[in-house]
Amino acid sequence: MEPENFQELFHRLEREVSKVIVGHDDVIRKVLIAFFAGGHVLLEGVPGLGKTLLVKSLSQVLGMSFKRIQFTPDLMPSDIVGTQVLAESDGRREFQFKKGPIFAHVVLADEINRATPKTQSAVLEAMEEKQVTVFGESYALESPFMVLATQNPIELEGTYPLPEAQLDRFFFKLLVTPPSPVELKEILQRTTGAESAGVSSILSDDDNRLIGGMKQLLRQVLIAPPIEDYVVRLIYATQPSSSNGSLAESPVKQYLRFGSSPRGAQSVILGAKGNALAEGRVHVSYEDVEKVVYPALRHRIILNFQAEAENVNADQILGALVKQVPRT
């Protein structure tokens, strides 16, 4: 796989999804980067912003199997991963494993915070292990496998917020923001007219090798040691207990309870590599890192009560960090 091919294919996918999703170019790009980096994405936004449509369109253009799970409080883990059922074949009765909706290339976990923690953990285990175990028997999930979970930041009554340890398993957390007036007008023109736009598949089931090649290329993207050091400094700077004197007065000390895990650093590096490839480069630049710091770390840093009381969000803290941490 050549970098030029990657870039071309990547842009084709972006353009195709953009046919049905107006705006959110950054979200589309980040979702595609997460896909090729082998990660899962948590989409957060109020209802009606096209989160589900985005995921559905993405699976269509990728030519992957797509399953949607609507999370509710009464959803059971077996409803997701599947269960053993007694089946009769050739006059013999035996238990057969009936696969749940998790067995798909692209899984949409809609409103994941409405399910109980028990059910959430079943999904999240599958996300991490890429396999499920039912009655002591493990079943491998599809490859490529990607979970796109959505959650609603409002209407928190009756929800079960994802634990930090489970949030950490998402590669990116993307914020789906309301469209601008221009974008809204475009949405209206596309959806209220006689013709409705649709997406066509760019890849097919047979292109698994191609996707595998793209994933491999992403990991081969060159990154300079000073940039790796910069990422390390950024991650270390998110630790409130870090002994970085220059950041003593930073919002980190003031508003953070816990900093990012090493998974955050991995996400930043892989995300930066994906961004570099998407821009036609075979090396990571500082700008790539700074572009992916926010989606990679915003759900990995845990704010304290003071931050919530003062309505300080994670992006503000990360912005301050990016300004404070020197590149060299």
């Binding site: 993207v221 300079a224 040691p225 940039i227 990571v284 700008e287």
Partner: protein, 468 residues
């Protein structure tokens, strides 16, 4: 330029970064040198100046110079080493100038063996396309940093301060005893054959100055003679070192002469006193003036004793302003006048202010009288010279008219001139007569006649009818 561009395009990006590192290192080295060169020069100049001015010996000057150079090298090294740009820093600079989005940085810092060769080759090819945008001399010219200007200004200020403070240091150092200074200069001169004679003269002078048997006039003459010699030698000398030494000697001698002159004045003042008071009243001659409880009576008594001693010797104290000032100086230096309490201020240690006032009232010139006027008692003398014993009251004797109760006050000329025509004199705020405004009264008091009729007072007219 075109040639350079062609050269750049043939050059590998890594090589360009290496060249930039070397260039920036040189620039940093220059910066460090320029930063510490002015102070180093100033130190060396100071050492040289002190050496030429014979403040320090050649060894000390050499040592200071070498130490300054050593410290300079050390400081330059310490400053230079951390500022040497790394490959990453240099490549980032190239990236910023060429807009290469960290291509130079990546290429210069990665280990090619760890990464796919195809991607590295691709990156190198991409980076090479940016080489034409970079011209090291053009894009990274050497510019003198502000630190150099700051260092230069600081050094010049230090130099000015050195020259300003040197005289102060000189005066501080020359506060050593004069003979010692003369010996030091003489020792320095002794190593120079042409100044050997002067050195001997200075040694001799130093010895004489320390000899208590040598009288003042002799010292003075010796100083003047040596000064003359030094002056003549100074005119002859062409070498700066020798002239400096001679200058030091001349300066020391001049100071010595001034001190000697001042000492002589002081001595004169001590002998003469400033102004004075002559009384025809016989003195005990022991200098034991009546102690005044009100105002430093003992010291005043001493002054009075001094005066009376002079008077007995037939000397008339006279005053001129210089002597008066000299006297004041001498009082400040030696006689503990400063310890005297202020007569106008009540002293808690005094047994009684009234007594002091009485005493002051009895004294011509009042209790406020300062300086050499002293205090003369009006009490009847306990003893008279034998020759006067046979004189009748009112007769002219050796000490003047016998029994005449008057005092002769001789004021300093300037005070006398001021008070000329002022019969009443001035009074201070407390009503006491101010010493300098004491009226001159040489009118002899009427002779005391024992059998003379007493003065009768006429009865006031308004009482005559009543009493009669």
């Amino acid at each position: 330029m075109r040639e350079l561009s062609g050269q750049n395009s043939r050059e590998s990006p890594e090589r360009l970064v290496s060249r930039l590192v070397a260039q920036l290192s040189h620039q940093v080295l220059w910066d460090s040198l320029l930063c510490f060169f002015p102070p180093l020069l100033v130190f060396i100049y100071m050492a040289g100046y002190l050496y030429h001015g014979a403040w320090v010996g050649p060894l000390a000057a050499l040592l200071v110079t070498l130490v300054s150079i050593g410290i300079g090298i050390l400081v330059v090294t310490l400053r230079y080493r951390p500022l040497v740009p790394s490959v990453a820093k240099a490549s980032r600079l190239v990236d910023e100038h060429a807009g290469a989005k960290d291509r130079f940085l990546t290429l210069a810092t990665i280990d090619p063996s760890r990464w796919p060769a195809g991607l590295v080759a691709r990156l190198r090819a991409e980076t090479a396309s940016f080489l034409d945008r970079i011209e090291l001399r053009r894009d990274f010219p050497y510019q003198v940093k502000n630190s150099f200007y700051a260092s230069l200004i600081g050094s010049v200020l230090a130099l000015l301060l050195f020259h300003l403070l040197l005289p102060v240091a000189h005066s501080t150092l020359t506060s050593l005893p004069a003979p010692q200074r003369l010996r030091e200069v003489a020792e320095k001169m002794a190593v120079r054959p042409r100044l050997l004679e002067i050195a001997r003269s200075l040694q001799t002078l130093a010895a004489k100055l320390e000899d208590p048997r040598v009288v003042h006039e002799e010292r003075q003459a010796l100083i003047e003679e040596t000064q003359k010699k030094v002056g003549e030698q100074q005119k002859k000398e062409a070498q700066k070192d020798d002239r400096d030494l001679l200058g030091q000697a001349a300066s020391t001698l001049k100071n010595l002469e001034q001190q000697s002159g001042a000492g002589q004045d002081q001595q004169k003042n001590n002998e003469k006193g400033g102004g004075g008071m002559q009384s025809n009243l016989p003195q005990e001659g022991q200098g034991k003036g009546k102690p005044s409880p009100g105002g430093g009576g003992e010291q005043k008594g001493e002054m009075s004793a001094q005066l009376s001693k002079d008077m007995q010797q037939g000397k008339t104290a006279h005053s001129d302003p210089k002597e008066q000032s000299g006297e004041k100086n001498s009082q400040k230096q030696g006689d503990g006048k400063s310890n005297q309490p202020d007569p106008n201020r009540p002293d808690p240690n005094k047994p009684g202010m009234e007594k002091g006032k009485d005493s002051a009232g009895k004294t011509q010139g009042g209790g406020d009288d300062k300086g050499g006027r002293g205090k003369t008692s009006e009490e009847i003398p306990q003893g008279t010279p034998p020759a006067d014993r046979f004189h009748q009251a009112g007769e002219q004797g050796r000490e003047g008219i016998k029994g005449a109760r008057y005092v002769t006050v001789q004021l300093p000329e300037e005070v006398a001139a001021e008070t000329k025509g002022e019969k009443g004199g001035n009074k201070d705020t407390k009503g006491n007569r101010v010493g300098s405004k004491v009226p001159v009264s040489n009118v002899p008091l009427p002779a005391h006649v024992p059998d003379a009729p007493t003065e009768t007072q006429h009865m006031p007219l308004e009482y005559r009818g009543i009493i009669r």
